[in-house]
């Protein structure tokens, strides 16, 4: 029996040692590569004036494709934002993927849409298209709306590609906030690289707590809630410390679904987006790379460190769990689909480095970590634990995780430095301390469970009653340090404990914006995009029966009458109820209290403000109504 244990100890010890040493070296190497790439990029682009290509007729035109499902609350505002990007020639294709809300009605009304006789060349399969609409108003001549049967995000993107006019298309999520000059930045690699570029992507940032004005980020604020704040750190680590390095190696396997520019022909020829995966943004990059490798054509997938768009991170553990679980399933699916890459020299860097990296350090790591938990329990029971050594290992791993995080913060500090507030760095420091203690284990568990869900064929959205796009995200990953005690069986406990506690890493997956399974999520996502800019509120008054509204007649912008509701479900019901009465409503999340507000009325309404207020006050007596006077 003893000899069996000894063999088991030896085997596991060596396994963990090799595994952790590989991880450590990989992260250090990628970090070094990233640093070099970041430095080169910032030096090179320090002198770029993007205005030069803005109005040139030789700048390639771009088709923007944005799938939308039940985005009625914000769709008009989001499209207006897309239509006002700084770029010469581009078209905006919005794919209404069988929304069940009033998205289509809103679009038709606002943009004066008319159905057109559009011949569609179905180069990629997609669900039936009910109609294609264009605006009768010439100022919206860049806009095309596809109204189609529900088929999922991949299907919606494929339908968009089928009607896209230009050779390059940009896949975006309609609910992300896109930087105005993002197209100019993302097109640059296509114009300057000597090797054919087939896709480019850039940094996605977290918009929680940021102030949004007319569909643009007007002030960058570090998320006030802990979960989004931790994810902000994850994003920085993943994008700046990881992806730049992979891009430099030309081994990048993912471009975030929130914003990515692709060569349309390559995507079509490789078969388009796969409808049978939950992480289509990962799969498409692997697919087009495989296509180019098979043709033996030189190519590049380029990543730029400029922030291109902002998206909302989950602020509850429940949603976070589902996201990470889904990403993991998507990762496993895609890795399985392209298993032929594994250590296959034919696929160059992708086969030798990228794929094994994703296999061992992204897919296998959570499993190894969970095994570590189990082994720890086992060794505690059999009394084989070397507590001193295990404790030292824990400390070293914990410190190393902090080291990685702080290094990525230094990258951020010297590159884009989005969080300039003096206190932000210290807030980040706190996050680096707490992230490995609990948060990481939760993510690992979510990822681990993803394997089971995949085995039992669980689809995150089940039947096709999907709704809206999920927020954002980042796939989590683990990291383990090697131990010096690699031979002594007792050190096994150290490894196990070490693996349990440690988990920080550079995250690489940022599968963005899939459909979500529960209706609540959609609202949670879209709602919190609307934020109240405190600085613009000049007065808040409670409305009562005898309330004098004369004051607001003098204001050009009076904006909101609301009542606070504790649950999103209730808020949603109330919003619909008010909308049926003919009011324009928006559900807003109060970031401070976490409650939901319903904004009624709109800017510059033709109705006399006092009349509308009195009417609402009269009709909605059961609520405490408040008036916010806004300045814009």
């Amino acid at each position: 029996m003893d000899s069996f244990f000894n063999i088991l100890f030896d085997f596991t010890t060596y396994f963990f040692f090799v595994f952790t040493v590989t991880m450590l070296l990989s992260y250090i190497l990628i970090g070094v590569y990233s640093a070099k790439a970041m430095l080169d990029y910032s030096r090179k682009n320090n002198y770029v004036d993007y205005r030069d290509i803005l109005n040139s007729k030789f700048t390639p035109p771009i088709s923007i494709i944005a799938p939308a499902y039940n985005e009625g609350m914000t769709i008009v505002e989001n499209i207006l934002s897309l239509l006002s990007l700084y770029y010469g020639e581009y078209e905006v294709i919005i794919v209404n993927d069988g929304s069940k809300d009033d998205s289509m009605e809103k679009l038709i009304k606002y943009f004066h849409l008319k159905k057109v006789d559009f011949y569609i060349n179905y180069k990629l399969p997609c669900q039936p298209i009910r109609g294609i609409y264009e605006s009768t108003n010439p100022i919206y001549n860049k806009l095309i709306i596809i109204d189609k049967e529900n088929g999922g995000k991949s299907d919606a993107l494929n339908s968009g590609i089928n009607i896209a006019k230009y050779d390059l298309f940009c896949a975006v999520d309609v609910d992300t906030i896109i930087e105005p000059d993002s197209l100019l930045k993302v097109i640059k690699p296509f114009l300057e690289e000597k090797t054919k570029v087939i896709a480019t992507g850039g940094v996605i940032r977290i918009s929680n707590s940021c102030i949004i004005d007319r569909g643009r980020i007007s002030e960058v604020i570090l998320p006030k809630e802990t979960l989004p704040r931790i994810q902000t750190l994850e994003y920085i680590r993943s994008f700046l410390l990881g992806r730049m390095g992979w891009s430099k190696l030309n081994g990048l396997l993912i471009i975030s679904g929130a914003f990515g520019l692709f060569d349309k022909k390559v995507v079509i020829d490789s078969g388009g987006y796969n409808k049978n995966t939950v992480t289509e943004d990962f799969e498409i990059v692997v697919r087009i790379r495989k296509f180019m490798e098979d043709l033996k054509m030189p190519y590049k997938v380029v990543y730029i460190p400029d922030p291109l768009c902002w998206t909302e991170a989950p602020n509850t553990f429940k949603i976070l769990y589902r996201q990470r679980n889904r990403w993991y399933r998507g990762l496993a699916e895609t890795l399985w689909m392209y298993k032929g890459f594994f250590l296959n020299k034919k696929y160059g860097i992708m086969g030798i480095l990228s794929y094994p990296y994703w296999f061992f350090l992204e897919w296998l790591a959570p499993i190894v970590e969970i095994c570590g938990y189990i082994l720890l329990m086992f060794f505690i029971i059999v009394g084989k634990i070397d507590w001193i050594f295990a404790f030292l290992l824990l400390i070293s791993v914990y410190l190393f995780s902090i080291f990685l995080s702080i290094t990525s913060l230094i990258f951020e500090e010297f590159s884009f430095n989005q969080y300039k507030n003096k206190k932000d760095f210290f807030k980040f420091l706190l996050v680096t301390l707490i992230e490995p203690l609990g948060y990481h284990q939760y993510i690992t568990w979510a990822s681990f469970r993803g394997n089971f869900d995949l085995m039992f064929k669980k689809k995150s959205w089940g039947e096709m009653t999907r709704t809206g796009f999920n927020p954002t995200d980042v796939k989590k990953k683990q990291f383990k340090l090697p131990s010096l005690e690699s031979i002594k069986p007792s050190s096994m406990v150290g490894y196990a404990l070490f693996i349990i506690i440690f988990g920080l890493t550079i995250r690489h997956v940022a599968f963005n914006n899939d459909y979500v399974e529960i209706k609540e999520d959609i609202f949670n996502t879209t709602i919190s995009k609307q934020k109240i800019d405190k600085s613009s509120i000049i007065e808040k008054q409670k409305i009562s029966e005898n309330y004098k509204v004369a004051k607001i007649e003098k204001k050009r912008y009076w904006h909101v009458i609301f009542h606070e509701i504790k649950t999103i479900k209730k808020a949603n019901e109330e919003a619909y109820r008010l909308r049926e009465k003919g009011y324009e409503t928006t559900v807003i999340k109060n970031q401070k209290t976490g409650h939901f507000l319903i904004s009624v009325g709109k800017k510059e309404t033709n109705i006399k403000a006092s009349d509308l207020l009195n009417k609402i006050a009269e009709e909605e007596q059961k609520f405490d109504l408040w008036l916010l006077l806004y300045e814009e």
Binding site: R43, K44, N46, Y47, D52, I53, S56, K57, F58, T59, K114, V116, D117, F118, Y119, N121, K123, E134, S135, T136, P138, K188, F190, L191, E192, E193, K194, K265, I388, F389, L392, L393, I395, S396, L399, F400, I402, F403, I406, T407, L409, I410, E413, K422, F425, L429, S483, L484, E485, K488, S491
Partner: protein
């Protein structure tokens, strides 16, 4: 005392090393932030004072005696120096950087006499010498900065300096040097040498001198730079179409289109024999843009031997050129092709040339698909 194993000691050493690195990182960031804040405050102070002074010097009529009352150059220079020295010592590198930054910022937003005044102030403060020093530095970033500063302020950089930098190993240096040469020298003389025929007439065959390929990005920027030149007589860009540098050929094809040089069509037609994909594509598109009627037969002839992408370009170009035999050809190809994308482009081209011929197609192919395609053609009219 706890009896620690050798391995545990080693681990403690590792912990100490990591901890030290972490602490160093934290201290580094904190110090960096403190220093940055101090520097920012100081710079802001400089910026506001320099902006104020520059406003006085270049915008305020009463104060603007630099170009009026003070005629003598040296005296003028002293006056300017004195004024800036009142803020801080102009030999202070940080202050000089601040002045430089503000002048360049101002210069970007003004033109005419004000721009000229800023240029004079820049020279008077010997900031141009700083820029020259940068160009002569070993660091490529400084070289780039120096070239950009002088080019923006219209301070001529000697051709001998630029000639070395045109083929520099760093592409950004090359790029900025090329822009500078185009801006300051007459580069549109095919056989130009360095002969000096007048103050602004140094001829230099830049595009024959290039050893590297120009990226598309650089081409677009170059076309922009060239577009800003006020030519007495627009150069004949076709002279560079026999360049050995492929990217130069592409650049000049684009310039021919930009300047509508119809007389270059015969030379462009000869380029249809090119094997290089980029040159061929650009030539086909250019012939369409310039409506090169004489190229029609050659384009039709090439259609069958080229790849599908080139074929689409040919159809688009033929649509723009639009002669009778083109319509016949396009109708024929409409029947032959099975690719719906190509069919749609053919229809669009036919519609551009002779809308009535769409009916010919409708009658000839009386099927649902063709009818749908034809409806697609008129979708915009229906929308409007």
């Amino acid at each position: 005392m706890i009896d620690l194993s050798e391995e545990a000691f080693l681990l403690i050493v590792v912990i100490c090393i990591i901890l030290s690195i972490v602490l160093i990182e934290i201290v580094f960031v904190i110090l960096y932030r403190i220093v940055s804040t101090i520097v920012d405050v100081k710079n802001k102070n400089y910026y506001s004072k320099v902006e104020e002074l520059l406003n006085e010097l270049v915008f305020d009529d009463e104060q603007n005696y630099i170009s009026k009352a003070v005629k003598n150059y040296v005296e003028k220079q002293n006056v300017i120096l004195k004024k800036f020295n009142n803020i801080d010592n102009t030999s202070n590198p940080n202050f000089r950087k601040a002045i430089q930054k503000v002048i360049l910022k101002f210069h970007k937003n003004v033109s005419g006499s004000v721009s000229e005044e800023l240029r004079k102030i820049y020279i008077a403060l010997r900031l141009s010498k700083d820029s020259v020093l940068k160009i002569n530095s070993n660091k490529w970033m400084l070289k780039v900065e120096g070239i950009i500063e002088l080019t923006q302020l219209n301070i001529k950089i000697p051709l001998t300096t630029l000639k070395i930098l045109i083929n520099h190993k760093n592409e950004i240096v090359r790029q900025e040097a090329i822009f500078a040469v185009v801006k300051f020298y007459n580069v549109f003389e095919k056989n130009g040498d360095n002969s000096y025929n007048g103050y602004n007439d140094i001829k230099f065959n830049l595009f024959g001198y290039l050893e590297y390929e120009l990226s598309e990005w650089q081409q677009i920027k170059l076309i922009n730079t060239i577009s800003q030149i006020k030519f007495d007589v627009i150069p004949d860009f076709s002279k560079w179409l026999n360049s050995e540098n492929k990217s130069v050929k592409v650049l000049f094809i684009k310039l021919i289109v930009q300047y509508n040089q119809y007389e270059s069509i015969p030379i462009l037609i000869t380029l249809l024999e090119e094997k290089d994909e980029k040159i061929l594509k650009q030539t086909i598109l250019a012939l369409g843009e310039l409506e090169g009627v004489f190229a029609v037969n050659k384009l039709i002839e090439l259609y069958s031997v080229l790849n599908p992408e080139n074929r689409i370009d040919i159809i688009k170009s033929l649509g723009k050129i639009g002669t009778d035999n083109v319509v016949t050809f396009l109708i024929e190809k409409f029947s032959e092709t099975i690719d719906d994308t190509v069919k749609l482009i053919i229809l669009e081209s036919i519609k551009t040339i002779d809308e009535k011929q769409i009916d010919t197609i409708r009658i000839k192919h009386n099927d649902e698909k063709t009818n749908l395609m034809i409806k697609h053609l008129y979708k915009n009219e229906n929308v409007a």
